[in-house]
Amino acid sequence: MSEAREFKYIGQRTIRPDGFDKVTGRAQYGADLNLPGMIWGRTLRSPHAHAKILSIDTSKAEAHPDVFAVVTFKDFGSVEGESINAGEGAADVLDLARNCLADDKVLYHGHAIAAVAARTERVADDALALIEVKYEVLSPVLDVEDAMKDGAPILHEDMFTQGYEETPSSPSNIATRLEMKMGDIEAGFAEADVIVEREFRTPTAHQGYIEPHACTARYDEDGQSLVWCCTQGHFDVRTSTAKLLHIDLSKLKVVASEIGGGFGGKTVVYQEPVALALSRKSGRPVKMVMNRDEVFMATGPTSAAKLKAKVGAKKDGTITAMQGWMAYEAGAFKGSPMMPGVMTMFTPYDCGNVQVEGFDVVVNKCKVAAYRAPGAPQAEFAAEMVVNELAEELGMDPIELRLKNAAKEGTQTIYGPKLKTVGLVECLEAARDSDHYKSTLAEGCGRGIAAGFWFNIGGQSSVSINMNTDGTGTIIEGSPDIGGSRASMQMMAAEVLQIEPSRLKPIVADTDSLPYSQGTGGSRVTFATGMAVIEAAEDVVRQLKERAAAIWNVTAEQVDYVDGVAINTAGGEKMTLAEVCEAAEKTGGQISGTGNINARGAGPSFAVHLCDTKVDKETGKVDVVRYTAIQDAGKAIHPSYVEGQLQGGAVQGIGWALNEEYIYNDDGVMENPGFLDYRIPLASDLPMIEAIIVEVPNAFHPYGVRGVGESGIIPPLAAVGWSVGNAIGRKVEELPCSPPRVLSLIQNG
């Protein structure tokens, strides 16, 4: 995008096309499909955090008159340890299979072992008790420090640490070690007048979507198998499920239902292959819906982490060196988001001397899944906390310190390339100039500020736009709509076609109806699928011109298309889009545009947040009293839903910072698998969240779009953490700032 342009529809606040169904209860989510003859599946889960499975006897459950099938890992047949693209980038098929149903070992409390399909959900639940499993219980490893120690119980005897020049010869719980560096870190610190260094901890936290994982599956010998499920990527569900059941992709149709939140957690399969295996064995459609405790125990939290951060600066505030260390819990199988943690930690800063080392460590907890800007919130929390302390030590305003060192176009990143145009400086200036920052802090309150960086991604998106004879059209896309993206697709297509958005109906098609599309994640949909929509709509315009040209007996180049009307520049005739569509039968058949792309050029989105908190010094309870979220959207297609992403990300981050954490006992049993004890923010916990959209266009998108879904969850951890410390005159080093922890900080320092 080269210059500012006027838009007709982009930037308006239209009513979302799927809205009516959602406010009336008609919209169908993962658990809302019932099929004739359908039975119910339930999952037997491990009571132990770490144990060998000696035997599984399913005979009594199978003999139950209302039980139709029981499956275990063996029902997946032979599974090879190969890499497939399964939603979060490459995944190991064997790990995926062993997470869906344990093989010879259970690796966390709640690990699925077997599943039963029965006439009713209650019978299926009761029949689980008839399955006899013999275990040899092993000692669990519950945090990174223990897991990294010599002599720690080993989860996987075949795992050897990658990332050293020489791969070690003995197995380890450390899957990967990664170091990135640039410049001369020692020289950088030698130059510094002030150095700040601290250690931090963040807890295991869950995405906390309100809709539990749910699916209905129907196996069909004739190649018409169906999986209906709530997922962020139904094409990836098809890949994983077809792989585990050894069927061709064309023989499995996956339909993405409406999805009740995901935040990264619904990018991988848990129940879908199991439900289809149960259906194959029983000959009936099978529905599986997780209970809330299963969602917490056995689906994607994000990594608990231990981190160290060290920064040095000259007296004038020039940062001379930044150093980080992090160990992320992967859960039972390798693959924590440590790598993006390493890559993002100090990216908001233009500093030449940086070194970061990270470790991906397996522990006896649920395998982590992607969670909104995976890996970045933990790492940038540590970085932003020490930068705030640096400002304090220097006696500088924390925004001025950041402005002095802010990453901008041309800044060298630790992960390789120099940044292209980014909007961090603009976000910082908007923060500095905001009413919030200019306001006086109330007595007894604290204020925190933090920045956040996330890459955003592009990737494969497939779109068709089918025009109807009355000039309306259907936008067929393959990206599950998790937060209103159909509205954006409608507006972008309308902008190209120059017709009212409401004349275009966007739908998320099943896997039979469209080529592969990558899942909804990485803040990619409005950016990448939007580009595919624009391309498909431009294809429609090209055809409209050709058809009109044929009618007028001129060349397509002689036809202009303005405001939804084709104009013959040679003869002056005009035809509306609807008229050209109506005549399609006579000019060669119906009009349909396609845009099947692999989008590149995703633009990073920087965010800056401001937080005021008030702390009850007697109980340690923290109230957020004012909050402002500022973020670069490149171009906000639908400002209301962009604000919604900023606000929603901020509040998830506030929850992570204040209350949310997995609590395990010494045996590795999760003790708080419910919303009562794993406390996500309530309406009564919060003030309004002031959202400020900054627009620094992304040069690689036709309208300048940057993804906005993820960056907003990064700054709250440090903005809240610093604010709490500021209110009580202490340094917060551990999240969440829950009442007992804050009280202990107040009392013990």
Binding site: R13, I15, R16, D18, G19, F20, K22, V23, T24, G25, R26, A27, Q28, Y29, A31, D32, N34, R122, Q207, G208, Y209, I210, E211, P212, E258, I259, G260, G261, G262, F263, V289, N291, R292, I482, G483, G484, H638, S640, Y641, E643, G644, Q647, G648, G649, A650, V651, Q652, G674, F675, L676, I680, P681, L682, A683, S684, D685, L686, M688, I689, A691
Partner: protein, 159 residues
């Protein structure tokens, strides 16, 4: 286990069903009556996605047994709005973009209607506390609260 015959009223219409004594009202609505507009988020009364009214009182249908519906008047999301159009609360939720994924929305609309029947002119704080039993993970509540207060104002003007 023998089933119990229950006669009740849902959204003003007489309804009969058979249910197991252990079935919740939510199970009956979703699985037996195919009224899937009421959602299940937790099954333990913590999230409010299954909010319905029972004899005018706001309840979590996952905490009510199906048999308790005997002789009661039940109100669900399917009873809000009509063929003639959406209820003001529904319109305001759409105007304010007060939903993202939308799975908490039916529960929130049922709860908001109950709130505004009890208190047509709530303060922001009153609205936040009344709706504290309805979890939303997407929006951060800002736009929901704005929609609720705007709906209240519009309904007062129309009254």
């Amino acid at each position: 286990m023998s089933k119990t015959h229950v006669t009740t009223s849902i959204n003003g219409e007489p309804v009969e069903f058979l249910c197991d004594p252990g079935d919740t009202l939510l199970d009956v609505l979703r699985n037996d009556l195919q009224m899937t507009g009421t959602k299940e988020g937790c099954g333990s009364g913590d999230c409010g996605a299954c909010s319905v009214t029972m004899n005018g009182r706001l309840v979590c249908s996952c905490l009510v047994l199906g048999v308790e519906a005997e002789g009661a008047e039940i109100g669900t999301i399917e009873g809000i709005g009509s063929n003639d159009g959406l209820h003001v609360i529904q319109e305001k939720f759409l105007e304010h973009a007060a939903l993202q994924c939308g799975v908490c929305t039916p529960g929130l609309i049922v709860s908001t209607k109950a709130l505004l029947e009890e208190n047509p002119n709530p303060t922001e704080e009153e609205a936040r506390y009344y709706l504290a039993g309805n979890l939303c993970r997407c929006t951060g509540y800002d736009k929901i609260i704005r929609a609720v207060l705007d709906a209240a104002e519009t309904m007062r003007e129309g009254a």
